[in-house]
């Protein structure tokens, strides 16, 4: 049988019941037929023996008084026994005395004898059973009787037995198949229902279905009950999981909303603070200038230098406030995504930087046609900060090199700005992108500490990442994705 389809329980049960019934019946029939074969054969021989005895004792007088006709008349009664082929009465010397033949073809032995002491002898020959018996009258051996019977009655009996056995076999098989179908149906219905439910489960992932277990046997009822309990538990857990997830989502949304609100508040606050700080700062600067211009000749040199320092601090504070406002703007500005040619942006920025310090020898290597998807203004601010930093931190070196390009890392496009300037210690990389965080002294490299924070915020708003590699006095490389 090909192993294409696993045989169903139903088929197996049917085969089992038919096999068991057939084997049992065949064995029983074989036993009966064998028993009948032996017993019918034995009965046949016994009947023949009785017949021979009767014939023998009826023939005694004829033998004793040598009356052949009477003996033949006695034997002629065998016409009533169609199974007897031939019979013969023999004298005490074993010579034929009177014979009976059913048909002309029948023959009788020309002479018979029995070993002394034997009363009777039977044997099977030519498909017939033969018997020779001694005729004894009042203790005197008077003669012999021979009788030959065919086995047609025997075979007819056997045929009848076989036919009956066959009928019983077929009938019993049919009944067994019928009964087994009934019982099988009862046993299998819950199993098949269970199998259907299990199939529906695996196909639809619907754990709300339940197996029907009514009318099932005790074991099946337990199985169905356990199965349904299991489904119930799975469903409960599913529900609990879904509830937990929903709850979590709700809480995350709540927290996010709270955070966003707090962030907005903070931004609004810092913006308004920065904005409002400018007016008093302008007053300080303006009145300091007015004091110097209108009353400068009345002040000594020391006082004038103090005023200059006030003004310098005021300007610096103005720059800080400007950067703060820029950072706030970067966070608040509307994003418009488009294709931006970063190479062109880099060329423009470096050209501006050259104009301010045209004496510096800086080797600029810009990869052409590097494009990114993002907000043109924000990306320009980011590039401005990164290239401005590169320009600033290479200013202490006689000759410098600034590179811009792109590369592929982990399947995504990464842009980078590289210089061979002052660099920094990677141990402080964590502080790199914090607001007002500076790794160099003000006197060494001027700056407010807002630039890289701005760049990071822009990159984050584009959904990208920014990181750096650096070594002191060997330069730094900033990588970012958008």
């Amino acid at each position: 049988m090909p192993a294409a389809k696993p045989t169903s329980l139903s088929g197996k049960l049917t085969r089992l019941s038919v096999l068991v019934t057939a084997t049992g019946l065949l064995l029983a029939c074989a036993a009966f037929v064998t028993y009948d074969f032996v017993s019918i054969r034995r009965a046949l021989v016994r009947n023949l023996s009785v017949q021979a005895h009767l014939l023998g004792s009826s023939s005694v007088a004829a033998l004793v008084f040598n009356d052949r006709v009477s003996a033949e008349n006695t034997l002629a009664a065998l016409r009533a026994a169609p199974n007897v082929v031939a019979a013969c009465v023999y004298s005490a010397e074993g010579k034929p005395f009177a014979a009976y033949r059913r048909d002309p073809a029948s023959s009788v032995p020309g002479r018979v004898e029995l070993p002394t002491g034997d009363e009777e002898k039977q044997w099977f020959d030519r498909g017939d059973v033969m018997l020779v018996g001694r005729i004894v009258f009042q203790g005197h051996p008077t003669g012999f009787i021979f009788i030959e019977s065919d086995l047609q009655a025997f075979w007819a009996g056997m045929r009848r037995y076989l036919a009956i056995s066959l009928c019983v076999l077929v009938g019993a098989l049919l009944v067994a198949v019928g009964l087994s179908t009934q019982i099988r149906h009862e046993i299998l219905r819950p199993i098949e229902a269970l199998a259907d439910v299990a199939r529906a489960l695996t196909e639809d992932r619907n754990y709300s279905v339940r197996a029907a277990g009514e009318g099932a046997a005790a074991e099946m009822a337990i199985l169905v009950g356990a199965f349904n309990d299991m489904l119930e538990q799975i469903e409960q857990r599913d529900r609990a999981l879904r509830e937990a997830r929903d709850d979590l989502e709700r809480r995350v949304q709540l927290r996010t909303a709270e955070l966003e609100a707090a962030n907005k508040e903070l931004e609004a606050f810092s913006y308004s603070v920065s904005h409002d700080l400018r007016a008093p700062l302008r007053s300080i600067d303006g009145f300091s200038l007015a004091l110097l211009q209108d009353h400068g000749e009345r002040l000594d040199a020391e006082a004038r230098s103090y005023f200059e320092r006030i003004r310098a601090a005021t300007r610096r504070m103005g720059l800080l406030i400007e950067d703060m406002l820029n950072l706030a703007r970067v966070s608040r500005a509307e994003m418009r995504r488009e294709r931006v040619n970063l190479s062109a942006v880099a060329h423009a920025i470096l050209a501006d930087l050259r104009k301010t310090e045209h004496s510096r020898a800086v080797d600029c290597r810009i990869e052409e046609n590097v494009e990114a998807e993002g907000d043109a203004q924000l990306l320009r601010v980011a590039m401005d900060n990164l290239l401005g930093n590169a320009w600033k931190y290479t200013s202490k070196h006689a000759s410098a090199r600034i590179e811009f390009g792109q590369m592929r890392a982990n399947g995504s496009r990464v842009f980078y700005v590289k210089d061979d300037g002052a660099g920094f210690d990677l141990a402080y990389a964590g502080k790199l992108f914090g607001v007002f965080q500076r790794l160099h002294g003000m006197s060494e490299f001027p700056g407010t500490g807002v630039g890289l924070a701005t760049v990071q915020r822009i990159v984050h708003r584009h959904g990208g990442r920014i990181w750096a590699e650096a070594e002191v006095e060997k330069g730094a490389t900033f990588y970012f994705t958008v």
Binding site: V60, A61, V64, F65, N66, D67, S70
Partner: protein
């Protein structure tokens, strides 16, 4: 019977062991065989004579007849088959009956001269010489349970029980059942079956 005994002796002799006594026995056996041979040869090879058959029948009739329990023939411990008148059997009857038993009684042959002497017999063969005295003999035996047999013509008609008749060279017999019944004798149906004729009427007064 005798045949078998004799031939067996002749066969067994040479197989025995021993010296003088054995040789003597062999000699005796050989002598017996030589002496008996003519008789055996005549008995076996030629057809039996009429009276040999009749003698055997006399004995065989006895086997198919039952006598009443307290019959006259019970005297003595033997079963007598008697012959009255001139004996046609000679030694044949004695030879036939030798060693036979009926109902545990030894069968013997007796010759009687008078009917009165025959009441102790079980079977009485009435010789043809007694034909003239038949009526007296039968009357003398009246009610004494003796099976009367004879080859006198019309014996069965005249009150006898079994009469031999000859059919060609075969010996057969007629039965008068009424006579037998009068003498309280029961004849087996097997015997009647092989009889030539069975008379059931009472004997006709002659």
């Amino acid at each position: 019977m005798k045949t078998a005994t004799a031939s067996r002796k002749g066969e067994n002799g040479p197989n025995g062991r021993g010296a003088r006594p054995l040789w003597g026995m062999i000699q005796a056996a050989l002598c017996a065989a030589v002496l008996l041979f003519p008789l055996l040869a005549s008995g076996q090879q030629s057809r039996p004579s009429e009276y040999q058959v009749k003698a055997a029948y006399l004995f065989n009739f006895s086997r198919f007849v039952s006598w009443p329990a307290t019959g006259a023939g019970d005297s003595g411990g033997s079963f007598a088959i008697c012959v009255i008148g001139r004996d046609p059997f000679g030694p044949v009857l004695d030879a036939t009956l030798a060693g036979e038993n009926i109902g545990g009684k030894k069968v013997i042959a007796r010759r009687v001269a008078l009917a009165e002497q025959a009441t102790g017999c079980r079977v009485l063969f009435i010789s043809a010489s007694e034909e003239s005295r038949l009526r007296e003999i039968l009357a003398a035996l009246d009610k004494s349970s003796v099976l009367t047999v004879s080859d006198i013509a019309h014996f069965a008609e005249r009150g006898g029980m079994i009469q031999f008749v000859l059919q060609g060279d075969r010996v057969r017999f007629e039965v008068n059942l009424a006579s037998a019944a009068e003498a309280r004798l029961t004849l087996s149906s097997d015997l009647l079956k092989v009889a030539v004729m069975v008379r059931k009427a009472a004997p006709s007064g002659e």
